[in-house]
Symmetry: C2
Subunit: 393 residues, 2 copies
Amino acid sequence: MYQFADRMGQVSASAIREIFKALADPEIISFGGGSLANESFPIEVIKEITDQALTEKGPKILQYGITEGWPALRQAYVDHIAKPKGINATVDNVIVTTGASQGIQLLADVFLNPGDVVLVESPTFLGVFSVFNKYFVKCIPVSMDEKGIIVEDLEAKIKEHNPKMLYTIPTFQNPTGRTLPVDRRQKVEELASEHNFIVLEDDPYCDLRFKGETVPNIKTFDKTGNVVLLNSFAKIISPGLRVGTVLAEPEIIQKLTVAKQGADTHTSNLSQEICAEFLNRGLLPGHLEKIRPIYEVRLNTMLNAIQKYFPEGTKYIEPEGGLFIWVELPGKPDVLELFKKAVNDYKVAFVPGIHFCKNPDDGIRHLRLNFSSSSPDQIEEGMKRLGELFSKN
Amino acid sequence: MYQFADRMGQVSASAIREIFKALADPEIISFGGGSLANESFPIEVIKEITDQALTEKGPKILQYGITEGWPALRQAYVDHIAKPKGINATVDNVIVTTGASQGIQLLADVFLNPGDVVLVESPTFLGVFSVFNKYFVKCIPVSMDEKGIIVEDLEAKIKEHNPKMLYTIPTFQNPTGRTLPVDRRQKVEELASEHNFIVLEDDPYCDLRFKGETVPNIKTFDKTGNVVLLNSFAKIISPGLRVGTVLAEPEIIQKLTVAKQGADTHTSNLSQEICAEFLNRGLLPGHLEKIRPIYEVRLNTMLNAIQKYFPEGTKYIEPEGGLFIWVELPGKPDVLELFKKAVNDYKVAFVPGIHFCKNPDDGIRHLRLNFSSSSPDQIEEGMKRLGELFSKN
């Protein structure tokens, strides 16, 4: 009966929703989502900050706020996140969003016409497909190797498709955990300047590094204003608060502000104040020191379990941080079928690799395993069950 | 240098932004925005609820949530808001949004193709223009009299334009303060069923009624599922928390969920839990009893001041609630010019009526005055100054 818009035909209830359903089943050990460790949340300090904030500036927090973002948070982001990363920015370079997803959507609003081409890593974050599909743009996959995007293929795709945008997660990529080396980052920036497209550098995982050296953001090489950096408080403080940032040239920030005004007026002041005060109290570095070992133990438990339980010939990269391991099963596995069996018969969830790919070959034998949201015991048990299933294959 | 999307040419930095700038000037008495009385916020109880929520369910609140909304809030909305309004609903009829603006945008996502027609009241909430413009739809104004939308004109516009949607604020309309009588509401529903378009019933002000009888929602007459009801916690608890709801048939809610997943994943869990617990503690009725008199005094102060200070021949309707008075000045005033003088020379802000109109005739001699965000003393002083300016004219 209802006449829905054409764009809704482009958007399928994405795999994320099915995974969330599996997550909601308490019987299932889930390596499917991207949830954080419940033990990692700084609940006590958030309680204290909230109490103080409502006491000292209650009416300001509960009143309408500014579309660009809570002034204290824009400044705190510049001081405590952008500058330590070597990015020279002022508050005029920043808009606060309700998370990276909103940042992507607002940038699509601002830059993308129907028919435009967006280059994406293959595989990539599956959420971007549902956003970009709504805008009737073409997502063209760029090939990756174990270090991330292959710049020769990127250059070929640029020449072939004249893209408006490249969407990339250069650090601990979702779903592969891969990190792009510095020379390739420089090359990406050079290509963007030369061919005048926007690099959307989505960087939510960078601070969850357990070993190795920090690699500078693509944004640090930006001389022409073509790089837009998304950061998020989801992985470093809390995803439930829904706070992220976009860092870009003021001209872009102004357009994003107009788009956000229509989208939701502004982000929750209380959520923003919590993040601002967390940064301004200087709590982030210590908090990261505290939570990284939680995740490192889980990562190592999962890596060991792959070796112990998964069939011979299983391939994977050991990530130096982030939330995910990308696993390639040997032979010609039917991973979608294995997913069903895993959930129904073995009560373990993961995400089949194919959901992350425009080019099925890049994920057909693969699965994404999340190690952050399960305890080491659950990881051991779940991986044992998966190993049993995969070895039968 | 940047190649922005075509839709951004359709969206001007709306008048709202200019007004927010005037609002930010502490020297200015502002009747321009739609802010709430700072005295009206239940700060202490929100502090207590937040503390208890973080203590008892901290990890759940700080973790990722569900796109459809915090389960406790969906249920509390059904029990404490929908049902008391005589609307038979379950949680499957509800999605939580970050406020009415997001509700409008998600419904545009779900229903509107480029070229579609949306009927709007003339004048109407100016924020809808920036949303609908982004979707390349045509906004066609429907005439109003002092009771709201004129159903004969609505019927004529339906036959002429075959609309996909009618956007209406039937109670204490923004900007006019008008309330649509029950017989017209029934007629609107009948026309929607007969001609199969969506009625977007935006109802954020309904609970700020100071006198007169409650008028049932258009949604209460809905037999075919064509009416979609937007409610908001902005005016009854706090706008800064960014929480609203959409109530519709489950088929529509499912599509909205897909659209929201791409837009922002979910609404802040903490904001949602605050609203849920506020409702579940049964605090809303008492809170409304407490805040209504604050606004009623301000409304009456402003109405008296119009009579005392504004030039003879000034026309206005006495609203029975809401946040706004719609004033028509006598003669042929240049209201845009008066606005500049008011802000610069008299340090008082309002919104020129023309910003709310597709059809300039419906607002060219008009201004919208907000009485909720200034104290009675400020209202007295600001109106005196405006009266002086307008009488010179």
